[in-house]
């Protein structure tokens, strides 16, 4: 448990900084929106790399690679690995399947609503929808929303969807925390000059970690 988090931090930070560097260097005059997009792209990519091999990371990278506007940034970040990665993560067929599935889902819902309307018209009173149906409807709707949120979730069901969502939530939280602290670091550095050598606080830190220091 600790091990994954350690990995995630270092890899994530490294990847994110690389992405930031690239996005800062390629395009100076472009708008903030585009810079924000490229930063978000690099952050997502960093998160996916830091997590390793899971379903949602693959799906995320595929999605990121398919958008046209991301390609230049991705090329800058990944360098020579870009072609390898994109060859591995390009599956346009997947998304066609998703489109087809969405149509069937909406048609099912339409027919269900039509049935309800018909039954209510016949009975003339409020529809006696049994609670299980209501509950199932609620749960299905929310599952669909979750499927849309989690990358690659459209193809998962039930417990696997939940486990992927769990993993994704953990990584998202880690990503948010890392970006927050990175931003705080930039804020602090902008307020003070970078060439400061803060000897006093570091000594305080070393004093608190004497045991580990003696190992080295």
């Amino acid at each position: 448990m600790h091990v994954t988090k350690e990995f995630k931090k270092k890899t994530f930070l490294k990847q994110l900084l690389l992405g930031l560097h690239v996005s800062n260097s390629i395009s100076n005059p472009i708008s903030i929106q585009q810079r924000k997009n490229s930063i978000k792209l690099s952050a997502d990519l960093a998160m996916a790399f830091a997590r390793g091999r899971t379903h949602w990371t693959h799906a995320l990278i595929t999605k990121l690679g398919q958008k046209e506007e991301n390609k230049s940034t991705l090329k800058g970040i990944l360098g020579r690995r870009y072609e390898i990665l994109m060859a591995r993560y390009s599956c346009p067929l997947l998304y066609q399947k998703v489109q087809r599935r969405k149509k069937s889902v909406t048609s099912y819902r339409f027919s269900y609503n039509a049935q309800k309307r018909r039954s209510s018209a016949l009975k003339g009173s409020c529809v006696r929808v049994s609670p299980s149906v209501v509950a199932r409807n609620l749960e299905n709707r929310r599952t669909k929303v979750l499927k849309r949120l989690v990358p690659g979730g459209e193809f998962l069901n039930g417990s696997s969807l939940l486990s992927e969502a769990l993993d994704y939530v953990i990584s998202l939280k880690a990503q948010v925390d890392m970006m927050k602290s990175l931003w705080r670091a930039t804020q602090v550095s902008s307020s003070s000059n970078v060439e400061l050598v803060p000897s006093a606080p570091l000594q305080k830190k070393d004093a608190s970690c004497t045991i580990a220091n003696s190992e080295e």
Binding site: M1, H2, T4, K5, F7, K10, T11, L13, L17, L18, N24, N28, I32, K36, I39, A43, A48, G52, R53, S130, P131, S132, V134, A135, R136, L138, E139, R142, V145, L146, L149, S159, A165, L166, D167, V169, I170, D177, M178, M179, S181, W183, R184, A185, T186, V188, S189, S192, V194, E195, V197, P198, L202, K205, D206, C209, I211, A212, E215, E216
Partner: protein, 400 residues
């Protein structure tokens, strides 16, 4: 109108009872229980117990551990430790098989949602348990009507109007979990909670993921077994998610939990967008210096601490070794001197693995302190899923 559970059981016991037929598989399972559970390899004795029609579940070693973790949520890092714990738990709880329903009903009492209706549901459980002990659930057609557990029967009786066909069984099971939320009726609340708590107490007798044992008084139909396994998997994931999502410890039921999860994911994604906007607004020139320093420190810290911390993921080492030398402009030798104590500061928390919940605010005076906090941040909630994935994929990492 859907009948109240108390009234429902009296009138609607729709499935035919088989008092004459002996319970073939369950007594055998009972007798095997104490002896076989002490073995570490649980697979062979169970396979003779199950009816031949049981499909083989796809074997995933991760699920063995997950099933083992159903009983204990301790944050042990050791895989072996957890397996031993689960086996010992099963050995203890195997003898409590007959008392599981009782404990489930006592849980229901503790909930104190309502007075008389809980008693009704308990007596329902008790009566149906006695009846089901004489049942034979092997025949497929009968088992679909027979229902695989007292809890299922209870939910069935509440729904009342639903038929007993196999097709409707699944919907009933799902509905049984969420009826309390959707209907907000007192009786559904009580029985659903008892059902869930009973399930928590009684879900250990299942061995590992692949071979599912039919619990006492439940159908041994392959469909219902698979259904129960699936439901328990889902409930286990929901429990983990409950621990993870803040403010969800008191929420029960799938629908509301899903709602909370969706809200949380959306809020996290919005936070990422917001933070990336903030980072985009930072002056790029200033950012560059920090980046180069950070990358240099990280790479140095990585090389030094890989020996101190026993990581087994070689992939990450190899991933980092082709560092980006292009990042490091040649004109920064003077800046690297303060990085040595900083590097030591990075390595110490990593080797000590102290979990900090939040970065100490007094320490974040300088940017080096901030980076130190970044590296030493550990996340409090570490669900066992990550360890399980590490255990199953030892050389994990992004293969580039």
């Amino acid at each position: 109108m859907v009948p109240v559970s108390g009234a429902g059981t009296g009138t609607a016991s729709p499935f035919p009872l088989w008092p004459g037929m002996p319970n073939l598989s369950n007594p055998i399972a009972e007798s095997f229980n104490p002896g076989m559970l002490n073995q570490s390899s649980n697979k062979f004795p169970y396979s003779s117990v199950l009816p031949p029609g049981l499909p083989n579940f796809p074997s995933e070693p991760g699920f063995i551990e997950r099933a083992a973790r159903l009983s204990c949520f301790s944050a042990n890092a050791g895989f072996n430790g957890l397996m031993n714990n689960s086996i010992s738990n099963q050995a203890q709880k195997g003898e409590l098989n007959s008392m599981n329903i009782g404990s489930g009903s006592s849980h229901g009492n503790q909930l104190k949602n309502q007075g008389s209706i809980d008693n009704n549901s308990e007596t329902n459980e008790g009566a149906e348990d006695k009846i089901s002990n004489g049942d034979n659930a092997n025949a497929n057609g009968d088992s679909s009507q027979n229902d695989s557990g007292s809890k299922k029967r209870k939910r069935k009786n509440q729904d009342g109007a639903m038929g007993q066909g196999q097709a409707s069984m699944k919907s009933q099971e799902e509905a049984g979990k969420q009826t309390s939320e959707s209907k907000k009726e007192v009786d559904n609340n009580g029985s659903k909670n008892t059902g869930k708590n009973g399930k928590d107490a009684a879900d250990v007798p299942k061995g590992d993921y692949i071979h599912v044992r039919a619990r006492r008084g439940q159908a041994t139909n392959s469909h219902s077994l698979a259904e129960r396994v699936r439901r328990e998997k889902i409930s286990e994931r929901m429990k983990y998610l409950q621990e993870l999502v803040p403010g969800c410890s008191k929420v029960t039921g799938k629908a509301v939990m899903l709602d909370e999860i969706i809200n949380y994911v959306q809020s996290l994604q919005r936070q990422v967008e917001f933070l990336s906007m903030k980072l985009a607004a930072v002056n790029p020139r200033l950012d560059l210096n920090i980046e180069t320093l950070l990358s240099k420190d990280i790479l140095q810290g990585r090389g030094a601490c890989s020996s101190t911390v026993g990581f087994t993921h070689e992939m990450f080492h190899s991933q980092l070794l082709p560092s980006q030398p292009g990042l490091l402009p040649p004109g920064l030798p003077g800046m690297l001197n303060p990085s040595d104590p900083f590097r030591r500061a990075i390595n110490t928390p990593l080797s000590a693995m102290n979990p900090f919940k939040d970065p100490n605010p007094q320490m974040s005076t300088t940017w080096q302190d901030e980076l130190h906090n970044v590296m030493s941040m550990n996340f409090a909630t570490n669900p066992p899923l990550s360890t399980q994935e590490i255990a199953t994929k030892p050389s994990d990492g992004f293969q580039l």
